[in-house]
């Protein structure tokens, strides 16, 4: 295979993987950062990093985990670079509000608001489990947690959401 063929094959492989997993990358970034604009920046940086590192991915079956790991690192880098303060949920920017206002639906608005207000420690494993279909082992691997800690965070996250929704307000997210 000459270098031109190799480059074409490499590009095709990248396009296929990104085509399949772009939605997962964006949604993960959006719920990590809680901001649509930040999510777009993080995904752009992640795609660039994935492109440069593609040859390190030996097994396409592991592509989703690989790409989400890159998104997670890029999100952390983004906030470190910008030294952003924790989002004040009562003082949202337009792009933060855009996340909550996505496809307005009265039934889902409350749930989305409650998820938005969850601490990162609870929101992230919930997103990985429910949206990405990760097992608790896989969540632990990605987040660097033991399985017991993952299980604890998941059950606390759901209890917090349940309490918030049953109380008609998503503002009470204190530790239980």
């Amino acid at each position: 295979m000459n270098s031109s063929d190799a480059a074409t094959t490499r590009r095709r492989r990248f396009d296929e993987l990104v085509g399949v997993f772009h939605q997962d990358m964006y949604r993960y970034a959006a719920w990590l950062s809680r901001d649509r604009n930040v999510a777009e920046d993080v995904v752009q940086e992640s795609l660039l990093r994935a492109w440069k590192s593609l040859d390190a991915l030996r097994d396409d079956a592991a592509a989703k985990h690989w790409l989400l790991t890159i998104v997670r690192r890029e999100n952390a880098r983004y906030f470190e670079r910008r030294r952003l303060e924790t989002v004040d949920v009562d003082d949202l920017t337009p792009s933060q509000e855009a996340l909550l206002a996505d496809q307005p639906d009265h039934e889902l608005d409350d749930v989305r608001d409650a998820i938005y207000r969850l601490d990162d420690d609870y929101r992230e494993p919930l997103v990985l489990q429910v949206l990405m279909g990760y097992s608790t082992n896989e969540i632990g691997e990605l987040m660097g947690l033991r399985q017991g800690a993952v299980l604890t965070r998941l059950h606390r996250a759901r209890h917090k959401l349940r309490d918030a929704l049953n109380n008609g307000t998503a503002s009470d997210q204190s530790e239980t």
């Binding site: 660039l48 590192s53 097994d59 079956a61 592509a63 299980l151």
Partner: protein, 236 residues
């Protein structure tokens, strides 16, 4: 198991299907389970926000000199001597496949055969069934309904074939592991035989999609084909 244990388990993982003895005697926990599962459906819908159209950044030309490899993440741990032995066996396995690659494969077949070599660790002989929850994640109800007639499923993984996520399963045949790829979006007009030095298989048309079944060279696939076809119904 008591109520607290059960509720912790179901709140951590609403698909949890253990604790049946407790559940059958506790109406409150049954109600809690149903509530958690309903809540999970709402969480899933709330998280599935709309995604803007893919916009790729400017991708620089890459050559081998400026590729930055990431640190490898081992898929599993094993003693060094076993890793070396496995690598030698894998090299011999792939080499045999290449020696036998005098068959002209159409594109889908080519990708399927390449995929077999891509995940050789799936092809282990075992009588340990894959975890039911993992199987449910890999073959979600939105893709296919699958009953237990297919055989002993020992491996389940979501893989990418032709740019689409598909369930990759392995069942245990008489001669060794048999790979099953459920391809709901890959239509074939008629059955496509796959023959190689060390494998034989077939891609069968099923509804608007197809199912690929590949086993060892001397594996009798007829019965397995029938079992798989009887056990799979597309949901789309």
């Amino acid at each position: 198991m008591n109520c607290e244990d059960y509720r912790q388990a179901i709140a951590a993982e609403p698909s949890y299907d253990g604790g049946e003895a407790h559940l059958s005697a506790c109406a409150d926990c049954r109600a809690f389970r149903d509530e958690m599962r309903t809540l999970d459906g709402r969480i899933g819908r709330a998280l599935a926000i709309s995604v803007p159209e893919l916009r790729l950044p400017d991708l620089p030309d890459i050559d081998s000199a400026n590729v930055v490899p990431l640190a490898g993440r081992p898929r599993f741990t094993m003693p060094a001597w076993l890793a070396v032995a496995a690598m030698l066996m894998l090299a011999a396995f792939v080499g045999l496949r290449m020696v036998g690659s005098n068959v002209s494969y159409p594109s889908l077949t080519d990708e399927i055969v390449a995929h077999l070599d891509h995940e050789p660790y799936a092809l282990r002989v075992t009588d340990e069934p894959v975890d039911a929850r993992r199987l449910a994640r890999v073959v979600p109800a939105t893709v296919a309904a699958m009953n237990h007639d297919a055989g002993l499923i020992t491996y389940a993984q979501t893989c990418v074939i032709h740019g689409k996520k598909v369930p990759h399963l392995v069942i245990q045949g008489a001669r060794g592991p048999v790979t099953i790829l459920l391809l709901p979006d890959e239509a074939v007009e008629s059955a496509v035989q796959i023959e190689g030095e060390s494998i034989n298989g077939i891609i069968l048309p099923v509804g608007n999609g197809s199912v690929a079944i590949i086993g060892e060279r001397d594996e009798e696939l007829g019965k397995i084909q029938q079992n798989v076809l009887n056990s799979v119904t597309w949901s789309t």
